[in-house]
């Protein structure tokens, strides 16, 4: 529990930081004029660094987990996606992994009912995990309306769809509900399940809390403490056009929101959130299972000078014969 308590302190720290910043116009202009670039550079460079380091590591073996019959003799029905034999299969598999969390869906639980084991799907994590990640994506897409002028049409469409229930003014977005529900589930699970609690680290909680901080302040701004959207848009457009504009004091809650976002972004490359990029790299998923079909030459070996037995015999055949050693070719 102490780990959790330590991690909770991140919330007041960020809030106090933002409050402090909002007191001084000079600090505000740093937060809205310089920090965004610093954070963005850290995010991009850190992300790229991680991916490059992983990408440079050798993957000599085809070791995908095989979740179906591999491509074999023509009359044996293969499973091209669960055990891909080439790029289309791998693409299908990765798409399933990334958009549908296919592997997580495989999770089962066993219960002993009436003296016999009953295998049942354990899909709650899959459901809430999927909800959480998709709503994050939608929220990110919706935010593009601040960064594009004219607003990219699909952004408007996503927002319209997201708010199609038209509850309240301004409209309540479904993705916001889903995001909070997902977050709550992931968080409660981590706190309640003892086995999960003890492998949880301070950083695991902090990640969730930071995202929660972003989401809650965002919702507060939208529904309870409206901010000047025109000023926001001007500022955001200033960022993307590399001409930051002084925005004046927008609102404290916005600065808290911004602080959470920046901290999350800057920390992302150093945290487990890198599974965002890592999931694409995992050789357990992104390789075609062609071990038996194709010859895979290992490109990472240092060059070795080989002297094969055949060459050896060619070189020493006479001497070998003279010494009475058996030779393969006479």
């Amino acid at each position: 529990m102490t780990k959790f308590l330590i991690s909770v302190t991140v919330i007041p720290i960020v809030i106090l930081l933002a409050l402090g910043i909002s007191m001084s116009p000079a600090m505000i202009s740093i937060l809205t004029g310089v920090i965004p670039y610093v954070v963005f550079v850290i995010l991009l460079a850190g992300f790229a660094y991680r991916i490059v380091i992983w990408g440079k590591a050798p993957v000599p073996f085809r070791i995908p987990t095989t979740c179906g019959q591999e491509k074999s003799l023509p009359w044996i029905k293969a499973n091209p996606v669960e055990n891909p034999a080439g790029p289309p299969g791998v693409l299908g598999r990765m798409a399933q992994e990334i958009f549908l969390f296919r592997s997580l869906f495989r999770n089962t639980s066993v219960k002993i009912i009436g003296g016999r084991p009953v295998y049942d799907g354990a899909k709650w994590l899959w459901l809430f995990g999927l909800m959480f990640h998709f709503s994050l994506l939608i929220v990110a897409i919706r935010h593009l309306r601040f960064f594009t002028e004219p607003v990219t049409p699909c952004v408007g469409m996503v927002s319209a769809l997201d708010g199609f229930l038209e509850i309240g003014v301004p409209t309540l977005y479904l993705s916001d509900i889903a995001l909070l529900a997902g977050l709550t589930f992931l968080f409660l699970r981590r706190v309640i399940i003892p086995q999960l609690r003890y492998i949880s680290l301070v950083t695991d909680y902090v990640v969730l809390l930071l995202i929660a901080g972003v989401a809650v302040t965002g919702l507060l701004m939208r529904h309870f403490f409206p901010v000047d959207l025109n000023a926001l848009k001007t500022m955001a457009m200033g960022w993307v056009t590399f001409a930051p504009v002084a925005s004046g004091n927008i609102s404290v809650i916005f600065y808290i929101h911004l602080c959470f976002v920046f901290i999350l972004m800057a920390w992302l490359p150093f945290s487990k959130l890198m599974h965002m990029g890592g999931v694409f790299m995992s050789p357990a998923r992104n390789l075609a299972n062609t071990s038996r079909m194709k010859r895979h030459i290992n490109p990472w070996n240092a060059p070795v000078k080989v002297h094969t037995y055949v060459e050896y015999e060619d070189e020493f055949r006479d001497k070998m014969k003279a010494a009475g050693l058996p030779v393969e070719k006479e």
């Binding site: 330590i6 991680r50 440079k56 590591a57 050798p58 993957v59 000599p60 073996f61 070791i63 987990t65 095989t66 979740c67 179906g68 019959q69 591999e70 074999s72 003799l73 009359w75 044996i76 992994e97 969390f101 592997s103 997580l104 495989r106 066993v110 003296g115 016999r116 084991p117 295998y119 354990a122 994590l125 699970r189 086995q195 003890y198 492998i199 680290l201 301070v202 950083t203 487990k272 890198m274 599974h275 890592g278 999931v279 790299m281 995992s282 050789p283 357990a284 998923r285 992104n286 071990s291 038996r292 010859r295 895979h296 030459i297 990472w300 070996n301 240092a302 080989v306 094969t308 393969e328």
Partner: protein, 536 residues
């Protein structure tokens, strides 16, 4: 509520980190309830006086205790430098990327645990969870190898690195059968089985620590004598002649077992355990190949009559040495391809992993016996009377053949054709459970390790087998088809340990025995249930 063991607890010296109390193991159904209170008895103190045994109730390696604090510190330093090398491309290119990924992006979502049969059956003992040892390694790696690790350890998970940690981690790496079931459910593809393999490798390659059954009496003996069983070439030849005579006596069909035939189409490599423990398997292969008119041979050369490659489980270097010997023998015999007999890990070692080692003329095609057999059985050349196999049969899926390679269907197509009462286990195929003898466990029996295997790691398989035959009356003989020597060994031990022969009329064997049993032209059945023939 009892407090759960944490990864950091591994560093705190105690007599025993994890003890399974009586009644904690997952319960067994009738008529095996009397085993429900059985648990491992602590090893006698005089047996463990000089070895490290503080992990749980059993011992797999039997590490000698260091003489003093200096020796302990030297070993810790050796471990750390080995760990460092494990993350360098130059020293460890084999599985570096998945190892790095797992160190850095595991999201700790807890999905892998429910997939692990050892964890589940042990009464959910924390130390057996797939993530437990990975987390220990991860914390050591972050704290002691990453810059600033000692400072961030408070946030990213603390652990003390001392000799106790290392001794326990070494033992703990031999509580996972490397079945990779956990890897198939990980949403981001982290492979805890593979990390366990890397831990074993670190201990073996960098510190010379491995169970003697795998190393001294395993790969070392294999390379020196010719077989992990200790069988030398003359003994192998004698055995093959003996099997040849025996097969005629058993089936009434005269078979010739060819060996060292140059230029044959197929070199069949068996696990030498078959030659010693299950000669009918070797004989059945010979009968099928002879009836099908295939040009084939066995090798009686050192290493060539033993297809195992224990290096797969713990040591890349030993794996390479053995694999190259196998390929060299095939090259000298000038065969068109190598067929790996009913041995799971030999499948993976020689067909998948050895691929990167075999260059030039050593690159001889290698194939699974499952596929060869499917080809023969389905070709129509052989006539079968499936009625002869009219007894309940279930199929065990060896992890290395099925989950690790994706050879799922061929063996099933054969069984559907020749075994009318074939039924699947739940779950099966790529979702199968390990026999409990994987990664060398079936041959490891020092101290009370065999009992640990029967009670804990094989328990899931035993439950699955019982469940598959649930609706069959006790007196009906039942056949567990396990096309892998290692799995057969584990299943043999399960049947012995739980007296399942007497209580459930449970028998086991390979796939080829069933094929020959249903084959036309055999005068007598090759499959027997105790004294009773399966037909006729």
């Amino acid at each position: 509520m009892k407090t759960l063991l944490k990864p950091s607890d591994i560093a705190n010296a105690s007599e025993c980190l994890c003890h399974i109390e009586s009644g904690e193991l997952s319960p067994l159904p009738s008529p095996y309830e009397d085993f429900n209170q059985t648990t491992l008895l602590p090893l006698k103190p005089e047996k463990t006086k000089n070895i490290e045994s503080s992990l749980d109730d059993t011992v797999a390696i039997g590490l000698p205790r260091p003489a003093g604090i200096e020796e302990e510190e030297a070993l810790v330093a050796q471990f750390l430098s080995g760990l460092k090398r494990l993350f360098e491309k130059k020293n460890n290119w084999t599985f570096l990327q998945p190892l790095m990924l797992s160190m850095e992006h595991c999201a700790r979502c807890h999905t892998c645990s429910d997939a692990c049969p050892v964890y589940e059956m042990s009464g959910r003992k924390e130390i057996y969870r797939p993530i437990f040892r990975s987390e220990v390694l991860r914390r050591i790696y972050r704290k002691y190898l990453k810059p600033g690790g000692k400072i961030t350890a408070r946030l990213t998970g603390d652990i003390d690195l001392n000799w106790t940690t290392i001794a326990r981690l070494a033992e703990l790496s031999y509580r996972c059968t490397l079945c990779r079931r956990c890897a198939t459910v990980c949403p981001i593809g982290v492979d805890n089985g593979l990390i366990n393999h890397e831990i074993r490798k670190l201990f073996s390659q960098e510190m010379g620590i491995a169970p003697k059954e795998l190393h001294e009496k395993g790969t070392v003996q294999h390379l020196r004598v010719g077989s992990t069983t200790g069988m030398k070439p003359p003994a192998a030849r004698d055995s093959m002649e003996f099997i040849q005579e025996e097969m005629e006596e058993i089936t009434g069909y005269k078979v010739d077992i060819p060996w060292d035939v140059k230029g044959a189409d197929i070199l069949l490599i068996h696990n030498a355990g078959e030659i010693l423990s299950w000669p009918e398997n070797v004989g059945a292969f010979a009968i099928i190949f002879q009836v099908a008119g295939i040009s084939w041979t066995l090798s009686s050369e050192e290493v060539g009559y033993d297809g195992v490659n224990y290096g797969l489980w713990y040591d890349d270097v030993q794996l390479a040495r053995v694999a190259i010997r196998h390929a060299e023998i095939a090259r000298r015999l000038r065969v068109k391809k190598i067929v790996v007999g009913e041995c799971g890990h030999a499948h993976k070692a020689l067909t998948v992993i050895a691929d990167r080692l075999l260059s030039g003329s050593l690159n001889i095609p290698r194939e699974s016996a499952m596929v060869t057999l499917e080809n023969i059985v389905m070709s129509g050349k052989l006539k079968f009377d499936p009625g002869k196999n009219n007894f309940p049969v279930t199929l065990h899926d060896p992890c290395n053949v099925v989950r690790a390679m994706g050879i799922v269907e061929p063996q099933r197509r054969i069984l559907r054709k020749i075994a009318p009462q074939f039924r699947e286990m739940t779950p099966h195929g790529v979702e199968n459970y390990c026999c409990g003898g994987g990664s060398g466990f079936a041959i490891m029996s020092g101290y009370n390790f065999a009992e640990w295997r029967n009670l804990v790691s094989s328990r899931k398989k035993f439950l699955q087998i019982l469940e598959a035959f649930r609706d069959e009356p006790r007196e009906v003989p039942k056949y567990v088809c396990a096309p892998c020597s290692n799995c057969k060994g584990a299943i043999r031990d399960i049947i012995d340990y739980y007296h399942a022969g007497e209580r459930s009329n449970l028998y086991y064997g390979g796939l080829v025995e069933l094929v020959v049993n249903a084959l036309d032209g055999m005068k007598k059945p090759i499959v027997r249930f105790g004294d009773k023939p399966s037909w006729g």
